[in-house]
């Protein structure tokens, strides 16, 4: 009986109160839309990244190559297929790279590959670039000078779909010949320039085998012809690698990483070995780029999605606020009815149940609509992502997991129920007499005893957090000691402790003193503690130890700041409204408005508070994001000139400069323009993605105990060689004033580094410490302790972010050798965030007569300061290339070692894998140029253009001097580089702002709902207003003003909070605060606009209702 009648009442309420239900469903739908949208975008983004990486691997799971370097042969196929089980297909491939010139375009390193025509269908297909149809490559690759071009290279070479084929491509191959010199046979190498014919262009974005070739494709036999030229014996039986496919549709069906890893590990176990020089070496090396990519993507996404989810969570709070508000209004304007129901005998439980049923229905509908909204939202964001990452539309498809569908409806129901619970409870508690008299139900002024128990519990939780510092956790100091304020972890507990304790106290006190006073105390502490931390503690440099999660602190602080400020304003709303009234009442023509609008706001305290709270939360986030970006950009530009240490542009040559008897590239540059004041030449090297023998080892490859695994413990980093004169110039050591290129270091070697990180250190002190670090770097006798830090992509510690955090190494043990003495190695510096200070690495030098890499251990002795853009002409890779270029070594950064080690390696002699000649000491490939112009002067770009013209023009300038048309220079001004990276930063924030702005939409909808409701339920009052002489415009203005005031309160809270958070961050980073007035203005206009729109229409309608009709309106 009870249940059925509840359902009946709920059903009636649902069908009768259409607009009111609509607003509840809309509110829930928006909340769910947001959640689903966030889920879909993160999934999509992850998939887009992964696909754009994996697409390069086509359908390949594992590659087999020669374990000792060199080539495999046709005979290896049988051995390999005997090792592999469950494979779908196996295929040979010969891959290398060389320079290429198409028309006037030159590319210093183009990947070239030869593949057989009869490769298995499991590897996928080639498709025409223009038509998209499947291509039969055997019809084109009939001779060894016929090639196919990938669409990605075609785009780089300014070739489009309508360019007429064939086109000629010029390249170079090495020819080695055995020559008899005396009685000895000597191998003499020379280059031959070859013209190839591009017969067709294939689509390298189409998933499948075509996608794995980004350069030029030959027939296998054709390419073997060319490669065999390197071998004096002209052996044509050469295969670079055998590719294994375990499945055929990597892009449409899920890939089982665990299974692949299992198979990979199993294969490693059974790889055959042979003895070389009494050493056991593997006959085959295997690698799986797929596994590597997946690991890296996981790493990036754990960071990224946790950030998005936190942001999303905060915005969802606004959704919950909106829903609660709507539900609360439903109860309020139905109190009379509820009173009647109760009077005619409905029980409390019945009322409660019928309300809950109603919200259940709303939840289901809201969930379904929200799912639809989320799909659209996801689609829109996915489209935006395409424009942001430009990774091809094929790779950015919204990913909708089944779980998301279930999840969204479930969340809708839960949201509906949860937010309906409080109003339902309130409805069931309605005082019949008061409800019938039309008295608005007010909460009891003093809290009940039950409530006080919760207060006491909260207080205990708070005290627990507070005494964690110094008490439970002895590493932290008590709050009453000054040292108890200097550490982020301590602050985390202080924030949580104060928050809980004073929330509890507020609840308890509200039993004895007035609610307003009690909660004012809570509000002030909640808001004040984080603000104190941001402004005072960070402003005065009290916080010196930044260990701990700054993200966690930020989130806690933002939540407390928002709750505190909303509570404070909400509690004092009547007071604020009184001030507003007394101000407005002085204005002629607004006196009536002044009398009613503020009074209306304070008479609906909860509703009003929830309304401005929505904006307060969203705008706090918005302003935080906007002002952080503004501060960042401003400080980046401001500091870049200082941090670039005088370097204005850098030049990258496609090959090392020629060793000329009378001049050098540097010399020629000076001649070009008199404003060039200094040219610092450097040697750099980037290993190709296929030659893992040049990768950095993160475990000792020679120590059987270390468990070295080439698949997991090699990192594709770039290298740079530095000489004392390049950095110190004429100066001998740190004491000398005039350094040529002194820049900020972040992590410093033992002895130079202070034992605790001193964030208060001045620029000068930091620079001096950095110089001392360089003295160690160039000191041939200096060695640094290797610490027991291991690196594994699989269990990479995100929270420490490798080299990103300043390290003290206090609690890390040094590595000891068998005799128990501390192991020490020479040091290298790095700009890679992956390499922590103190970690040993092994760099492959090639002094072995067998051509195997010989690994030399080093300790990571320091890192460039990426925050301060320290040394960033050097550490430029991250900024230029990003993830889309696919050059991992570029992305992961470089290792720099002193010149004296160059004797052990011919890395720096190599332009590509084909010419391992030694370079002369002054044969550079990278140049940093200082000019007499200021950092952002356009004259620098002119010089850059001049340099490129000088180097890249056919048959003139530098090419004439060296008589080589294959030399290409790229000159980039640091300022343009900075602009590019700022643009990237702006793109990333605009992506974040999609989420944040969604909160604004929720706020706008909230306003509209409240406005419509206000007018609907106040018809009587409006009639009365008209009857006693309110002109129409004042009725309308009153409705408008109410909304505007709430919107502006939200905006005000948001702006103040956002700026305070920003002040904290600027203090922490020691940069001046920048207030994004433009953005704040935009929000102001937005709120004004929405307020006008949402308020004006219902207000106008209201003012038109004939007073007599309005007066008859009840409930």
């Amino acid at each position: 009986m009870g249940l059925i009648s509840s359902i009946k009442i709920a059903k009636r309420a649902l069908t009768r109160r259409k607009t009111k239900n609509f607003s509840a469903i809309l509110a829930i739908a928006l909340g769910v839309t947001l959640m689903v949208g966030i889920q879909i975008t993160t999934d999509t983004l992850e998939n887009a990244f992964l696909t754009s990486l994996l697409i390069r691997e086509g359908e390949v799971d594992i590659r087999f190559s020669n374990g000792t370097g060199g080539f495999l042969t046709a005979a290896d196929k049988e051995n390999i297929s005997a090792l592999v089980t469950d494979e779908l297909a196996i295929m040979p491939e010969l891959k290398s790279s060389g320079p290429a010139m198409i028309g006037s375009q030159f590319e210093p390193s183009v990947s070239m590959a030869g593949i057989p025509f009869d490769y298995d269908a499991a590897f996928g297909e080639f498709c025409y670039w223009d038509s998209g149809e499947v291509m039969d490559i055997s019809t084109y690759l009939t001779v060894n000078t016929s090639v196919l071009l990938s669409s990605s290279l075609a785009e780089d070479m300014d070739i489009n779909k309508s360019t007429e084929l064939p086109i000629t491509l010029t390249t170079e191959f090495t020819i080695n010949d055995n020559v008899l010199v005396g009685n000895e046979t000597v191998t003499v190498g020379s280059e031959v320039r070859v013209n190839l014919t591009i017969r067709e262009i294939f689509d390298s974005r189409h998933p499948g085998i075509g996608a794995s070739y980004r350069g030029v494709v030959f027939s296998l036999e054709g390419y073997q012809d060319w490669i065999s030229l390197q071998d004096p014996l002209r052996n044509k039986d050469v295969i670079g690698a055998y590719l294994i496919a375990y499945q055929t549709d990597h892009f449409t069906t899920p890939i089982d990483e665990a299974l692949l890893q299992e198979r990979f590990d199993a294969l490693e176990e059974i790889l055959p070995v042979k003895m070389v020089n009494d050493q056991e070496v593997n006959v085959y090396a295997i690698d799986s780029a797929r596994l590597l990519y997946v690991g890296i993507i996981d790493l990036i996404f754990t960071l990224m999605s946790s950030f998005l989810n936190v942001l999303g969570l905060l915005i969802i709070i606004t959704g919950i606020l909106l829903i609660t508000n709507v539900q609360l209004m439903s109860v309020e304007d139905r109190e009379f009815q509820t009173g009647v129901l109760r009077a005619v005998g409905e029980k409390r439980g019945g009322i409660f149940r019928s309300m809950l049923f109603e919200t259940l229905f709303q939840g289901v509908f809201g969930g379904i609509f929200g799912l639809a909204g989320g799909l659209i939202f996801g689609q829109v964001v996915a489209l935006y992502l395409v424009s942001l990452f430009g990774s091809g539309s094929a790779s950015v498809q919204p990913i909708v997991k089944e779980s998301v569908v279930i999840f969204s409806v479930l969340v809708g129901v839960i949201l509906g129920m949860l937010t309906g619970l409080l109003p339902a409870l309130r409805a069931s508690r309605v005082n019949i007499v008061e409800a019938l008299r039309g008295i608005k139900i007010t909460f009891e002024e003093k809290s009940s005893a039950n409530f006080a128990v919760i207060g006491v519990l909260l207080g205990i939780v708070g005290i627990f957090f507070l005494i964690t510092n110094g008490g439970i956790n002895k590493d932290l100091q008590y709050i009453w000691k000054t040292s108890g304020w200097d550490n982020l972890l301590e602050w985390e507990n202080i924030l949580l402790g104060a928050g809980f304790l004073f929330s509890g106290l507020g609840i308890v006190f509200s039993r004895y003193i007035s609610r307003t006073k009690a909660f004012n105390l809570t509000a002030i502490v909640l808001w004040g503690t984080p603000v104190f931390m941001f402004v005072v503690a960070m402003g005065n440099g009290w916080i010196t130890d930044m260990s701990g999660s700054s993200m966690g602190i930020l989130i806690i602080a933002i939540i407390e700041v928002v709750i505190g400020s909303v509570l404070l304003v909400g509690m004092n709303l009547p007071y604020i409204m009184r001030i507003l009234r007394n101000t407005l009442i002085k204005i002629r023509g607004l006196k009536g408005v002044a009398q009613v609008a503020p009074a209306l706001i304070s008479s609906h305290k909860t509703r009003s508070t929830l309304t401005f709270a929505i904006f307060a939360v969203v705008l706090t986030l918005n302003v935080t994001v906007a002002s952080l970006v503004a501060t960042n950009i401003d400080s980046t530009i401001g500091q870049s000139e200082e941090d670039s240490r005088g370097v204005d542009l850098y030049i990258q040559l496609s090959a090392p400069e020629y060793d000329l008897p009378d001049t050098s590239y540097t010399n020629e540059l000076y001649k070009l323009d008199s404003s060039i004041t200094d040219v610092i030449g450097m040697k750099t090297f980037t290993p190709s993605s296929t030659d893992y023998t040049r990768y950095v080892a993160t475990k000792d490859p020679y120590d059987p105990e270390s468990g070295f695994n080439p698949q997991k413990n090699l990192l594709p980093l770039s290298f740079g060689e530095l000489r004392s004169d390049q950095i110190r110039g004429e100066a001998q050591n740190a004491a000398d004033e005039n350094w040529r290129f002194d820049f900020y270091m972040f992590n410093l070697p033992d002895g130079v580094r202070p034992s605790t990180i001193d964030l208060g250190a001045s620029d000068e002190e930091l620079l001096n410490q950095s110089k001392t670090a360089w003295d160690r770097f160039f000191d041939p006798d200096y060695k640094m302790t290797a610490y027991n830090i291991t690196f594994d992509l699989e269990n990479f510690d995100i929270s420490s972010m490798g080299g990103f955090s300043a390290a003290t190494l206090d609690d890390v043990d040094p590595i000891l050798d068998i005799n128990g003495s501390v192991v020490q190695y020479p040091i290298v510096f790095t700009d890679s965030f992956l390499l922590p200070l103190g970690m040993p690495i092994w760099i492959a030098f090639n002094t072995s007569q067998f051509g195997f890499p010989v690994y030399q251990p080093f300790t990571i002795g320091g890192s460039f300061d990426s925050e301060r853009a320290g040394g960033w002409p050097l550490s430029r890779n991250m900024q230029t290339e990003g993830f889309s270029s696919g050059s991992f070594s570029g992305t992961m950064g470089s290792v720099y070692f002193p010149e004296r080690f160059s004797n052990y390696t011919d890395f720096f002699g190599m332009v590509d894998e084909l010419s391992p000649d030694k370079r002369e000491a002054d044969q550079f490939d990278t140049f940093l140029v200082k000019t007499s112009y200021p950092f952002d002067h356009p004259g620098i770009d002119t010089i850059a253009q001049l340099i490129e013209d000088f180097t890249n023009t056919r048959k003139s300038g530098y090419r004439e001097i060296i008589d080589d048309e294959f030399m290409v220079a790229t000159a980039t001004s640091l300022y343009s580089k900075l602009e590019a990276s700022l643009e990237m930063m702006e793109q990333m924030t605009s992506f974040l702002q999609i989420y944040v702005n969604f909160g604004l939409i929720i706020g706008a909808v909230g306003m509209a709902v409240i406005s419509v409701r206000n007018v609907a339920e106040r018809k009587r009052e409006i009639g009365m207003m008209r009857a006693i002489g309110f002109p129409r415009y004042q009725v309308m203005t009153a409705a408008l003003l109410e909304l505007m005031v709430l919107g502006f309160i939200g905006l005000f809270i948001g702006v103040v909070n956002g700026l305070l958070v920003n002040v904290g961050f600027s203090n922490m980073m020691d940069v001046p605060v920048v207030i994004p007035w433009g953005t704040i203005g935009a929000y102001l206009s937005f709120i004004t606009f929405i307020g006008l729109l949402a308020g004006a229409i219902p207000g106008w309608v209201a003012s038109r209702i004939p007073a007599a009709e309005a007066l008859r309106y009840v409930g």
Partner: protein
């Protein structure tokens, strides 16, 4: 605003008092609700009425006969469906909404049948609002509202919300709000409906006093014969028409 704009109990607000002057003239007034629809209600079916300045008139009639409708028409809270209403020679039908609102504010005081007051304003705020709408300085408005409320015996309830007041107290606040602008006509829809007989008598005595002092016109709807007899004459309505007019003075009133 100056002090002499305080309620002028002695001098009438409009043109010179003239016993024979009609302050309200209604000719052939009709009102149809939901005009043209199937649920059309012909609430007023041709009302002709003259009310002299300073008169105190009662309207009586069964429930649903159109009393409230007639009051709303007089106060121009709603559009009529035919006929004329002149208030002190002004045909309010010809005024714009803005002018009509100002005219109503300055010349007509309302006391409604149900829920009279703004629930979110205190007693004194309710009363001062019409003065604020006239553009009075808020201090002056507050003082006048207080004075009037004290006059009506509400001096100790100035800052209470309507919901904290008894029905009679609420009604007195509503009366104060209707009187504060010193209007020429006061329209009361069962102004004593919720009150006990003693309080009702008090309110009626108050009305009579104001009526005498200020020469303000009262049009009061009531179901209570005893209340009606406190007025100068009684207009009886049945079915949207005036059935007869009973002239006073009534015996009991003497």
């Amino acid at each position: 605003m100056s002090q002499n704009e305080a309620i002028k109990m002695e001098t009438p607000q409009m043109s010179q008092p003239n016993e024979s002057e009609n302050i309200l003239l209604i000719k052939g007034l009709h009102k149809r609700y939901n005009e043209g629809k199937s649920n059309e209600v012909h609430a007023l079916r041709g009302i002709d009425l003259e009310v002299k300045k300073g008169a105190m008139m009662a309207i009586m009639g069964p429930s649903g006969c159109g009393k409230t409708t007639l009051l709303n028409m007089i106060g121009h809270l709603d559009q009529n469906s035919g006929g004329e209403i002149h208030i002190s020679t002004i045909d309010a039908n010809k005024l714009s909404d803005g002018k009509m609102t100002a005219f109503r504010r300055d010349n007509i005081g309302f006391i409604f049948q149900l829920f009279n007051l703004f629930p979110f304003l205190s007693a004194v705020e309710n009363v001062e609002t019409p003065l604020l709408l006239k553009g009075y300085n808020s201090g002056v408005a507050r003082e006048q509202a207080k004075m009037l409320l004290r006059d009506l015996g509400m001096g100790d309830r100035l800052y209470h919300n309507p919901l904290e007041l008894s029905g009679g107290q609420q009604q007195r606040v509503a009366v104060a709000r209707a009187l504060i602008t010193d209007p020429a006509i006061i329209l009361g829809d069962e102004p004593t409906g919720d009150l006990d007989s003693t309080t009702s008598a008090e309110v009626m005595t108050l009305f009579r006093r104001i009526n005498k002092l200020n020469n303000q016109t009262f049009v009061l709807v009531t179901h209570n014969r005893w209340i009606a007899e406190k007025c100068d004459y009684i207009v009886h309505m049945i079915d949207g028409k005036i059935s007869n007019v009973e002239m006073g003075p009534f015996e009991e009133d003497k």
